[in-house]
């Protein structure tokens, strides 16, 4: 098994702003992923992301420190307006991006055709969860890495990694999609805007907080997502982490307000042949980014050296929230 672990897991780290990118580079990222400041990427939030000029500077800075920059162009181009996404692909490569993270089959084929030498990664938003789907993107678009959807167990990831001839990258820390990524329309069902089309999920513009009969009520558009009693910590009203009524009972039917922490399965992921681990959180602040990158870096170095993963206080990292190992453990299903 140790033969399957030739080197340390690569750390792929988020950067929502140029300042966060510099922090990530100094904290120990091997690669940093970013997006342009528009709807071509799946974290199209106000105040986040990079202009063309900022990307050029960020690439220069990262490369000086031996760190690679990946540009996510991972929403689905709109019919009749594909030009915006084509330009994002062309510009990212012209500005020195080391890889593109793409979700749309047509856009990946465009990138392959126009830039045959470019390194293309398949975004988690492509929802390629089996060897046949991954092979399709490799054959048609030459993708060299797939970011696996958070629907697979560690055992399934091992089998999958053996069955395909591209690298695999998996999420280990941060926000957790409960639904298969790229296959969820809950946000547009309620607000008209979705991750696939607009790069947003449960957008802040549609969020309302109200005091009603001593309860704090959180709503997204017309939908009540939760009600909190006095002293109960109130979370952001992401639809899949709300409290709803089913079978006459109120519960977190889809998922509780938890985030992903898979550090405990890091050794198993390395043994499964995973090449890179990814930290979610381009919307996160610099202090958080720095802390989590140092933590994951230390864990990855321990795994590579055959030492146990150091114990960490994840409550501090996840701002007091609860964590789950998610679908990596079969019992999550």
């Amino acid at each position: 098994m140790s033969a399957r672990m030739p080197e340390r897991l690569e750390l792929v780290c988020p950067a929502g702003t140029p300042a966060a990118l510099r922090v990530a580079v100094r904290a120990g990222a091997d690669s940093v992923y970013v997006g342009f400041r528009d709807e071509t990427n799946a974290r199209n939030f106000p105040g986040l992301n990079f202009s063309r000029e900022e990307l050029a500077e960020a690439v220069a800075f990262a490369h000086r420190h031996g760190v690679r920059v990946f540009v996510a162009v991972n929403t689905f181009p709109r019919a009749g307006e594909q030009e915006l996404w084509h330009r994002a692909v062309d510009d990212a490569l012209a500005l020195g991006a080391d890889a593109l993270i793409l979700a749309d089959l047509g856009l990946a084929c465009y990138a392959r055709r126009r830039h045959p030498e470019a390194r293309l990664h398949l975004s988690v938003q492509a929802s390629a969860a089996n060897p046949e789907a991954i092979a399709l993107f490799r054959e048609l678009a030459g993708i060299r890495r797939v970011v696996l959807p958070r629907v697979l167990t560690v055992g399934e990831i091992r089998a999958l990694t053996e069955a395909i001839d591209v690298e695999t990258e998996v999420f280990v820390l941060g926000g957790l999609c409960v639904m298969a990524e790229g296959r969820c329309l809950l946000s547009s069902y309620v607000t008209g805007r979705s991750p696939n089309m607009n790069g947003v999920c449960s957008p802040a513009e549609d969020v309302r907080y109200a005091e009603e009969e001593g309860m704090l009520v959180t709503r997204l558009g017309p939908v009540t997502v939760n009600r909190f009693g006095p002293g109960e910590p109130a979370g952001y009203p992401t639809l899949c982490k709300g409290r709803f009524l089913a079978c006459g009972r109120a519960s977190y039917l889809f998922e509780e307000p938890v985030s992903l922490s898979a550090l405990e399965v890091l050794p198993a992921l390395a043994r499964a042949g995973v090449r890179a681990v990814k930290i979610e959180g381009r919307q996160r602040g610099r202090a958080y980014i720095e802390k989590v990158i140092r933590t994951v870096r230390a864990a990855a170095e321990a795994v590579a050296a055959g030492r146990p993963v150091p114990a960490v206080d994840l409550h501090e990292l996840t701002e007091g929230g609860r964590e789950t190992v998610g679908a990596y453990d079969k019992r999550w299903r």
Binding site: R78, G106, S127, N130, E132, M197, E255
Partner: protein, 299 residues
């Protein structure tokens, strides 16, 4: 006259007992004015061992009744058994297979097939690549507005099938919410989904209808009802209109839409009579108009 517009029946998404499923398809074969019927398990491979025989018999009866049979593939094949199911389907199917994931697309490349609503087809680039691989028609993702559907048809020149009735498929997960609602895990689900023939109602804490759960799938609480958009869709080149089976009288539902396509009734009358067939159900159409999918915009 219908001007060539055809009606299709989508796959049954919910877990119906084998006897119920058999009776349903025999009645569709004999009585429903639909030209195309989709068969197959789209949501959960664990249900298939109980349904295989019924689906084979249904295919035979539907073909004998002159209907085109299309086999729909799983929407989220991730576990090893899912992939085995997918390969068997592709190997064994007589006639067209509807691909609902890109793994199915790869297995079907080079032979005629159709593209289901679970594939992320948002633009001309993707649809062109898929057409070159042998796709003969596509059913757009539910959130795609009518204007984008029209652009895709015009830009790529491929036949389009549009869902106009039934719950809207919204999300898929590795987790089974039916099992979770009963305090179980997916591996020990005891087929809780079989207890809700039309999905498990999920309401907000205010008691507002929100979504319906079908195992690993989340659907809209209300039914999509696009009768008011049919004329525009036909003008844009949509040639097939899909009805997704719900636990209501689907022969009656098909009859109403047949009458609409043949200009025997207007959308307003269809909706009034549909409300009698599916009492208490909200009718949704927001996505078609580029709005939130849970809204009702027309009429």
């Amino acid at each position: 006259m219908s001007g060539g517009a055809r009606l299709s029946l989508g796959p049954v998404l919910h877990y119906w007992e084998p006897e119920r499923l058999r009776d349903f398809y025999l009645r569709i074969a004999d009585e429903a004015p639909v030209e195309i019927v989709h068969l197959g398990e789209v949501v959960c491979a664990k249900r298939l061992p109980f349904l295989g025989g019924v689906l084979a018999e249904a295919a035979e009866r539907l073909r004998a009744a002159g209907k085109e049979v299309v086999f729909s593939s799983l929407a989220l094949p991730g576990e090893p058994r899912d992939l085995a199911v997918l390969r068997d389907l592709v190997d064994a199917a007589e006639g067209l297979v509807e691909a609902n994931d890109f793994g199915a697309v790869r297995l079907l490349r080079g032979r005629p097939h159709t593209l289901g609503p679970y594939l992320n087809i948002y633009n001309e680039g993707t649809l062109s690549v898929l057409r070159e691989g042998g796709a003969v028609r596509f059913c757009p993702p539910p959130e795609l507005p009518g204007s984008a559907v029209a652009r895709l048809i015009a830009g790529v020149g491929i036949a389009c099938e549009l869902q106009i009735f039934g719950r809207i498929p919204l999300a898929l997960s590795a987790r089974c919410y039916h099992a979770r609602s009963r305090g179980r895990r997916k591996d020990n689900c005891q087929y809780a989904c079989g207890e809700d023939a039309d999905g498990m109602a999920v309401d907000t804490l205010d008691g507002q209808a929100f979504v319906a759960v079908n195992g690993i799938q989340t659907l809209s609480a209300g039914y999509l009802e696009l009768s008011a958009a049919v004329a525009a869709a036909r003008a844009a080149g949509v040639g097939i209109f899909r009805l997704v089976p719900q636990a209501v009288d689907m022969v009656a539902v098909a009859g109403l839409y047949r009458d609409l396509l043949d200009d025997r009734i207007a959308p307003a009358e269809l909706r009034a009579r549909l409300a009698e067939t599916a009492p208490g159900v909200a009718f949704l159409d927001g996505y078609w108009y580029g709005r939130a999918g849970m809204l009702r915009v027309a009429g």
